[in-house]
Amino acid sequence: MSDQNPDVTSEETPDLDEIRSSGPVPRQREVLLDVDHVTLRFGGVTALDDVSFSLYRGEILGLIGPNGAGKTTCFNVMTGVYRPTSGAVRFAGQKVTGRKPHQINRMGIARTFQNIRLFPEMTALENVMVGTDSQHHTSVMGALFRLYRKKVKPHELPVVDSTNGAVRIWQQVRLGCAKVFGISRHTLEERAGERKALELLKFVGIVGRANELARNLPYGDQRRLEIARALATEPKLLCLDEPAAGFNPAEKEELNQLIRRIRDLGYTVLLIEHDMRLVMGVTDRIVVLEFGKKIAEGTPAEVRDNPKVIAAYLGEPADAA
């Protein structure tokens, strides 16, 4: 364990320098996520074997390893899909293990799926709006009766713009009602959710397809939509499970830029990816898993030169290391 020191402050990558010059310099690196001796067995298979690593606020951490190494399983433990056999996951000082997936999401962990899992019969916009669920306060009664009303600023009032006489009168009636009675919290929240979803779709570059069913989107746009949906939950930590799978080099470069933009917005990113060029280029640190065990951790340069990692990827026994 001595050669896998996570605190490599002396060897900062240029990306970290960028961040630090843009904001006030953090005195200490704050641990956001702490995976603490997690073991998970499925019957005879040990999918995770005493895995420990930490994730610092504001960094991009890569999680790599050969097929079946346990990377996706690690995400599933972090997001509450599976309960670890032993060990625990802590997020921002609070225990994650034992909570339900939606509670963990509300603590600030969002993820995408390796095998895309959108809501296929809903539009792209609605997919993202599902992610805003936790930011709504109205529920069944609020949506039904809409009695909780708020006074709104003039620019939020309904517009009167029709040239058709009857419609214009109707719009004026609505405007009058909104002025006298205010607008229901339900309506305001719906509008805010829709606007936020549009912004996110624009951020990932598919706003033009907002009204299309998720199942009709091209593959690459589905991947992007998953990222937008995860961001809509206002996470602190975004976990991406092979977001570039099936992408061509140009698309990978776009994704690279997107991940950096996400990090620059203040999110912490945990990235599972097989494409070494992408991982080495975008991450600050890397954790390597093999057969459920952590075999290496460090900066991209350190990991690249680690004989165990080379052996794991070339399929040779690691006894030389």
Partner: protein, 383 residues
């Protein structure tokens, strides 16, 4: 091969025909759609009086031995209400509920047991509190009681069972429907196998003196049921277009993904069950009030299957679709009474045909596009 291609062509033709109408309708300005809807509602209210020369053959009493037209329409309206409630559970939340008749029975029995002077429950209350002979709970109070009891039974059923998925849930709910029927048949406080008579309507216990909601003229009953249907359609529409409706769809599409996105599936599934149960309860209450008499065997599992068929044939997830499905399944057997026993065979074949040609239902569910042409342009590109 040729049969499949011709079938495909036929199917596409059908979808184009119906989908084309739908698209053209959706393309109309909002106010024109509103007017068309109002005209349709007016027509629905006019329906029991139907006397337009070319259309009188639609009436069920236009044939030999046909049933009272307004009475049939009332039953249709009750079925539409059931379909709308069951659609929340099956179509929106994606929970296959094969025991929906249970909630229908709970609603019907709630009104019967609290409202009828002949019910054992009312008799017990009379004795316990020294009330006069003719006392019973007023109809206007029975209805909220029925809704509340149905909702509570929905929550009680849902709480332990909604952790189950798919087929398991279907089996448990199927059992629930049967249990309700068997319990009311075998306990003493429910009137047992003989049922309960003298169930009140809006004007109190059934009698020849009732001016509006009488025994013979079913028109007021139909108008009452239609009004309830329209109000509840608006209510469910509001839910559909809210956070709740989106969460239901998300849970239906992929429960685990929804949970990871911060939606608590259990909460929304329970709401769907409770709301579905409430709607089932209301329809049961209306049905019992009009009948004036109910017995346990009216609420058998076959009825549950019919309810599911209404939703599936009409188009699960689409309110207009399930309403059409419910109307047809209630109306067609009545209109084609002169085919005698054959009508059920024909009816079954028609169902099979519909499912082959339109597996998504008569009017498939389609997410409505939002009108965001300009708004998509004006949002800033940052978050």
């Amino acid at each position: 091969m040729t049969t499949t291609t011709s079938r495909k062509r036929l199917l596409n033709g059908l979808s184009d025909a119906t989908g084309g109408i739908g698209d053209r309708f959706r393309a109309l300005p909002k106010w024109q759609r509103g007017l068309a809807f109002l005209a349709f509602v007016a027509f629905l209210y006019y329906l029991p009086l139907l006397g337009i020369p070319g259309l009188t053959w639609l009436r069920t009493d236009s044939i030999e031995g046909g049933n009272n037209w307004a009475g049939v329409l009332f039953v249709c309206a009750v079925y539409v209400l059931i379909a709308i409630g069951l659609n929340v559970v099956i179509g929106l939340a994606g929970l296959l509920d094969l025991g929906y008749v249970g909630f229908f029975a709970v609603g019907a029995y709630s009104v019967a047991l609290f409202g009828s002077t002949q019910s054992p429950v009312v008799k017990a209350l009379q004795e316990r509190f020294d009330l006069p002979q003719g006392w019973a709970v007023a109809w206007a109070i029975c209805i909220p009681i029925a809704i509340a009891i149905a909702m509570i039974s929905g929550v009680l059923l849902g709480w332990p069972t909604l952790r189950l998925r798919g087929d398991y849930l279907a089996i448990v709910t199927l059992g629930f429907g049967e249990i309700i029927r068997i319990v009311v048949r075998n306990v003493s406080w429910s009137g047992g196998p003989h049922g309960v008579a003298a169930i009140p309507g809006p004007e109190g216990a059934p009698s020849a003196d009732n001016q509006v909601f009488g025994l013979i003229d079913a028109k007021p009953w139909y108008w009452l049921a239609l009004t309830v249907v329209l109000l509840l359609v608006l209510a469910v529409r509001r839910l559909e277009n809210s956070r709740v409706g989106r969460a239901w769809l998300a849970v239906r599409e992929d429960e685990d993904a929804a949970a990871v996105m911060g939606v608590y599936p259990f909460k929304y599934k329970l709401w769907a069950f409770a709301i579905g149960a409430a709607l089932g309860g209301i329809s049961g209450a209306l049905f019992a009030s009009r009948q004036g008499f109910i017995e346990p065997n009216q609420f058998n599992a076959q009825l549950s299957i019919l309810f599911v068929a209404m939703v599936v044939v009409g188009g699960a997830g689409n309110m207009a679709g399930v309403a059409l499905g419910a109307f047809l399944l209630a109306y067609l057997p009545e209109r084609f009474r002169d085919f005698a026993e054959w009508r059920f065979l024909v009816f079954g074949l028609a169902l099979v045909l519909v499912m082959l040609l339109r597996p998504q239902g008569l009017i498939p569910s389609r997410r409505r596009a939002r009108e965001l042409k300009d708004r998509a342009e004006e949002v800033p590109a940052s978050v």
